[in-house]
Subunit: 208 residues, 2 copies
């Protein structure tokens, strides 16, 4: 007799993560409302019923996607800051470079586009995201700038504004690529841009 391969397997532990991964990529591509749970299930290799076995409803799945995907990314930067010795400009570049790298690899950075699109529809989730992700990321960069100023390495600029000037260009380019990769005839390389942005900005930041 042939040993028939089972039509499906029981994989209770792996399912949630797989469903979240599938949901992430479809939410990022199409948006929350335009994504059908049948499609999420299909991409995760299960059926819709299974999705509802692990998540109470579509909104809870969305929240899980944001929570599970976003938090791991910040901690590495915070360790870098804690352990850093030497010029603050170098740390700034290290942070930007790592960020650009991660943007090219993992799908998780697509969350920023997703949150921008859906923030108004999920106020509580937006608040969670702003507090746990945005403010923390800003603090990280703000710290570097502040210490650079204190060390006499940077001019005494407005830190809140400078922080945004440092973060926003890379973020915008990434969000842009996420949305218009198919039709932008003049794309730029993320790392090239990160380097260019860093050098341009450093001129204005450095003390004379």
């Amino acid at each position: 007799m042939n040993t028939p391969t089972p039509r499906w397997q029981r994989r209770k532990d792996a399912r949630p993560a797989e469903i979240i991964e599938a949901a992430l990529s479809l939410f990022v591509e199409r948006g929350f409302a335009a994504t059908r749970l049948d499609d999420v299930a299909k991409l995760a290799g299960v059926t819709k019923g299974t999705v509802y076995l692990y998540f109470a409803n579509k909104e809870e799945l969305f929240k899980a996607v944001v929570r599970e995907t976003v938090l791991p990314n910040i901690e590495s930067g915070e360790t870098l800051l804690a352990e850093h010795q030497g010029r603050w400009a170098d740390l700034l570049w290290t942070l930007l470079e790592r960020w650009a790298e991660r943007m090219e690899q993992s799908a998780s950075t697509g969350i920023s586009k997703l949150m921008i699109a859906e923030a108004n529809n999920f106020p509580e989730l937006a608040r969670f995201y702003v507090e746990e992700v945005v403010i923390r990321s800003r603090k990280l960069f703000a710290n570097v700038i502040e210490r650079g100023i204190a060390a006499g390495e940077f001019r005494p600029v407005d830190v809140a504004l400078a922080t945004r000037a440092v973060i926003s260009p890379l973020m915008m380019i990434k969000v842009w690529k996420q949305s218009f990769s198919l039709c932008d005839t003049e794309p730029v390389d993320l790392r090239d841009f990160a380097r260019f942005h860093y050098e341009l900005m450093l001129q204005g930041l450095q003390a004379r």
Copy 2:
């Protein structure tokens, strides 16, 4: 006898623009899929049937919103460039300042957030937007930078990268405000940021 005010009026010419305006503000706030046509109609002071009198379906309304709203904004910048005399850095600041002003006033700049969110769901519209709006805006700024370089006012930087470095920060801050105004506890003023960004960037751009 009292002259009864009619329950509604026939205003064939004004309806399309009013419906488009209503749709714009709801699309920007909630996204395309999450916006109900009943709500658009209500906000425009009509009923759903009237919306379908002027637009074939929801998708055509969306296209009309993008087309009608976005085009008028670019031309003024192009005239400024054509008529400019003097330092190119000054023109750069004029363009950025006007852009920041318009962002604070008209709702039309919310289109960028909308297109970012929906580009993948409307490939043809995304192509139209990229070609008619994005590329044209980039060309405008690229021209200023190129002429500044030719005049020896700016260093010979990579124009494509510099253009994005100039545009993206303001755009990101605007998109951000659009999405997180309710829960961002550390908002920045658009004009302040525009000025800060301009001065920071100019340091890196200027020839020595």
